[in-house]
């Protein structure tokens, strides 16, 4: 399976460990990642707030790059996934289509609208599937209780960007089960991580993150796993602030989706960039007998 790999900004910057883990697991899953140095940012929802047409145009350009190469697009970020899928949805509106096509024509780009955008989570659960995945597992994550944290833009608005029930999704839990771990069901799994307002009103954002973390912990989670590096920033890099906001020690490790897969496929913590996390993952690794590499 050959795909146009769209890592997104954060996976190439502060969330580099997500890119490391993706590049580690992809060949072992039979996924060939093709890089395009000309992909731009998806706008992360912020450009959509300021100028929705520009946001669609930037993503139409990204989609056109993959279309020209004859490849579908693979994302590893719920927000990138949502923004790119939303662009495809919005281009169905003739007025939007006209404005975007007009701008694209000025840079000699045509987008016919054929690029499919798929998140790694869906590739794992649908294209590869739990059966094949189970056969690839070298170190089953038995005993590890993992709460899935989906990230809003992967799920909602369901009729525009969703690929499964936004109210009762189960793909991530299916994956966790296939890797040998035990999924933890908790309300926060489909909630917001607070990231969009982290730089607008930090206290409120921290409270929202803290609420989901304490909910997962109360339901017995040893760790969370997320398909979104922005959720990861809010839940991991700012967990110290979330703890203060809810007045509780949380100390809950948060894995990126491909890191969890990588652990089950036998990667070392160093190969997956786990030492780059702010919340030490060792408490979770102990459950599966994986030794952490000292930072």
């Amino acid at each position: 399976m050959k795909v146009a790999y769209y890592p997104g900004c954060v996976a190439q910057e502060s969330g580099k460990e997500l890119d490391m883990a993706t590049r580690w697991v992809a060949p072992r899953l039979g996924i060939e990642l093709v890089d395009f140095p000309n992909f731009s940012c998806c706008g992360s929802g912020f450009i959509d707030e300021a100028n929705p047409t520009l946001n669609v145009a930037l993503n139409a350009r990204n989609l056109a790059i993959a279309e020209k190469a004859g490849l579908d697009l693979l994302t590893v970020c719920s927000t990138c996934q949502g923004m790119l899928a939303l662009a495809n949805d919005r281009l169905a509106d003739p007025a939007m289509r006209g404005r975007v096509d007009g701008a694209l024509s000025q840079i000699g780009v045509t987008y016919r609208g054929t690029t499919k955008v798929t998140h790694l989570l869906k590739v794992l659960t649908e294209s590869i599937g739990p059966e094949k995945l189970r056969a690839l597992v070298k170190r089953p994550l038995t005993g590890l209780k993992v709460g899935a944290f989906y990230g809003c833009h992967l799920l909602r608005p369901a009729d525009r960007v969703g690929s499964e029930s936004a109210e009762e999704p189960h793909s991530f839990e299916d994956l966790i089960t296939a890797l040998g771990a035990t999924p933890v069901m908790y309300r926060g799994r489909v909630m917001c991580c607070g990231f969009p307002i982290l730089f607008v009103k930090e206290g409120t954002a921290n409270r929202i993150a803290g609420r989901q973390l304490e909910d997962a912990k109360a339901h017995g989670a040893h760790a969370l796993a997320t398909p979104c590096p922005l959720c990861h920033l809010s839940l991991d890099a700012y967990q110290n602030k979330a703890e203060k906001a809810v007045g509780q020690d949380l100390d809950l490790p948060v894995f990126h989706l491909p890191q969890l897969v990588g652990l089950a496929l036998g990667a070392t913590p160093g190969e997956l960039g786990l030492p780059r996390h702010l919340v030490d993952t060792e408490s979770a690794l102990r459950h599966i007998g994986a030794v952490a590499v000292p930072t």
Partner: protein, 323 residues
């Protein structure tokens, strides 16, 4: 098969703050047709098993907006939620009062904060003294003008969106999805004379606390899509007032940031949004993160084809909104 009944275990939240120390759940098992609305089941419990159960309802037709509650932890209208799919998915039906509002008794919540937020947006037309409405005859709108707020009049003020909203849960200042969707309706109404004032007033501790998580759009039983109306409001707010609130500053700074290299410069964004003082306040946390994630303090490379991105900005963005 028509006529077939299902065994429906229903667990109902019960709490009277005047007499009870803590809430409890009462379990009832009813035999019901799968299409039976949860509201009908609750009314049967009240009629046949426990007349003390308190709940709000009126029309039973998803028009009055009285019977919003949590059904298997989702904010929904009880009259519009059939029991069959709930039993199929969860094996039982757990009914709780709406979130983000204090419980008065059982399933009845105190909705005063919800209505106060609604009043805050002044949900009525404000005349423009310079353009008085014509006397004695109605003002007219073109179909295109009406089309701009096609969805919002469907709102029945049931508060399902308010109950589902994580920003409301975390911050009492946030007006909530319904109030903002209603505000949108007046902002784009050509007969309203206070568009700019409305957009200015709603920004501090208001509009920009929306997380665009779209949980309100998922909860809304009438297809109002509040989160999308809030996105429209944000664009209009920037057009009216520029980047003046921390939220609008962040959105505009992000847009300008991407223009430079095609990808995000994380460090620079923090500086652009927060200003120098705010940036310094965030510095300790930034240093803490950068110790593990050194890319945070480095300038990212520029994408290939950056000039294409620049041209898209030239074609579609006047750039003046950051002024």
């Amino acid at each position: 098969m028509p006529g077939e009944l299902v065994e429906a275990p229903i667990e109902v939240y019960r709490f009277d703050p005047a007499t009870d120390k803590a809430p409890r759940y009462e379990r009832h098992v009813l035999s019901l047709a799968p299409h039976t609305p949860v509201l009908t089941a609750l009314l049967r419990i009240r009629a046949e098993e426990d007349p003390t159960l308190s709940l709000r309802y009126s029309c039973r037709s998803a028009i009055c907006g009285s019977c919003a509650m949590l059904i298997n932890s989702k904010s929904r209208l009880a009259c519009q939620t059939p029991i069959g799919p709930e039993i199929e998915r969860h094996g039982r039906i757990v009914v709780d009062p709406m979130r983000n509002q204090p419980v008065l008794r059982d399933l009845v919540t105190e909705m005063t904060p919800f209505w106060s937020q609604y009043r805050r947006i002044e949900p009525h037309l404000i005349a423009d003294p310079a353009h008085p409405m014509p006397e004695g005859r109605p003002t007219s709108m073109t179909p295109a003008q009406v089309e701009r707020f096609r969805e919002t009049p469907r709102c029945i003020a049931c508060a399902a969106c308010y109950s589902a909203c994580p920003a409301v849960e975390a911050d009492p200042m946030f007006p909530g999805p319904m109030a903002l969707a209603k505000l949108y309706r007046f902002v784009v109404d050509p007969r309203d004379g206070a568009t700019r004032e409305r957009l200015v007033r709603i920004q501090p501790n208001g509009l920009w606390l929306c997380l665009r998580c779209h949980l309100c759009t998922e909860a809304c039983p009438k297809g109002v899509r509040p989160s999308e109306r809030i996105m429209d409001l944000k664009e209009l707010a920037i057009a009216a007032q520029g980047a003046t609130d921390p939220g609008s500053r962040h959105a505009v700074a992000f847009k300008e940031n991407i223009r430079e290299r095609g990808v995000l410069n994380e460090l620079k964004l923090a500086r652009q949004t927060a200003g120098t003082a705010g940036f310094l306040a965030q510095l300790p946390q930034g240093v803490r993160i950068a110790r593990r994630k050194p890319e945070l303090s480095k300038t990212p490379p520029t994408i290939a084809g950056k000039e294409e991105v620049e041209k898209l900005y030239e074609a579609l963005d006047d750039g003046g909104s950051s002024a």
